[in-house]
Amino acid sequence: MSDAATPLDMLVLECEPGTHRLSVATQAMRFAERAGVSRLGRWKLGITVAELASNVVRHAYAGRITISRNDGATREIVVTCSDTGPGIGDPELARRDGYSRGRQLLPEDPRSVGLGAGLGAVHRLMDHVEIRSVAGEGSLVVARLRF
């Protein structure tokens, strides 16, 4: 019996340290291929999932990404990424390139803090992105791609 809240056609990807962002992305791309998404759309989705997965592991330790298709008025692939991490302080700032943890990254920052480009890329690649976050409780990113 499937939970009413989880449609059958949904891919759930758990992310935790050691989860490889590219393997998660590849699974998402395969899901999209089955759903009939174009090659360009699959790449957009793959990059989005890779960025979200690496963010989740980097900032929140662990989280969950779901991929589902929405066959409503506009056909779209919906990606959600939820975690119980520290939250995204200022989502507007977070989507700017070169920003991470609420500040602009400097050349001397170690590579391990990231590039600060992930969420910016997600905004540019997807058709609609919504970020909900509560400090200290976690974040939810919902990204939609029409196909």
Partner: protein, 194 residues
């Protein structure tokens, strides 16, 4: 003692001996059972040991295969005098990109090449992190006095690369390996004429 008491005593005795017998039987049974259990435990331990050994062998095999795949997956080819080519197939993760960089830079120094062609035809996915690694790889190659040329970027890749927010403008790009090689040969020819 009365006859009735004797009778009772005899009955109690026989009951006691019956009980003793029962206990003996019970003890024997439990002894046998515990022996069986011990045997089963020994069997399990032995099987566990075998499984552990197989598992260890498998882990070793996987490690061997992985290193073989790594060797094979990042070949650095000398395609022309002073021109190296690095065809990339599949997914480029952190570990692989570090190995790739190390191998390529070693080869650049060893062969004293002028050009390095990085062919991305078979690459599976380029996200911001992977793109950043390619840019850094190209910069390292430049620091060693060679030039990096990216080729084989497919349309979907090109369309997403521009959205990544990683600056690719400093890297020479050519349509495919053939064009890149032509470019290198022309550049080498003009240089030798000077």
């Amino acid at each position: 003692m009365t006859g009735g008491d004797e009778l009772e005593l005899a009955q109690l005795r026989s009951e006691a001996s019956a009980l003793r017998q029962l206990i003996d039987v019970h003890e024997q049974v439990s002894l046998q059972q515990s022996e069986k259990l011990e045997q089963a435990l020994r069997d399990l331990e032995a099987r566990n040991q075998v499984l552990l050994e197989t598992e260890n062998e498998r882990v070793k095999l996987i490690q061997r295969l992985r290193s073989a795949v790594e060797e094979l997956s990042t070949p650095v080819l000398e395609v022309w005098d002073e021109v190296l080519a690095l065809p990339i197939v599949g997914v480029v993760d952190t570990q692989r990109s570090a190995q790739m960089t190390e191998r390529l830079l070693t080869e650049v120094v060893r062969t004293r090449c002028r050009f390095v062609i990085i062919d991305l035809t078979g690459v599976e996915l380029i996200d911001t992190s992977t793109a950043d690694r390619f840019i850094k790889l190209a910069r390292s190659v430049q620091l060693l006095g060679a030039e990096c040329i990216l080729t084989g970027i497919q349309s979907a890749v090109a369309q997403t690369l521009v959205e990544l927010g990683i600056e690719f403008s400093n890297v020479n790009t050519q349509r495919n390996l053939k064009r890149a090689l032509q470019f290198c040969m022309r550049a080498l020819a003009t240089n030798s004429q000077k």
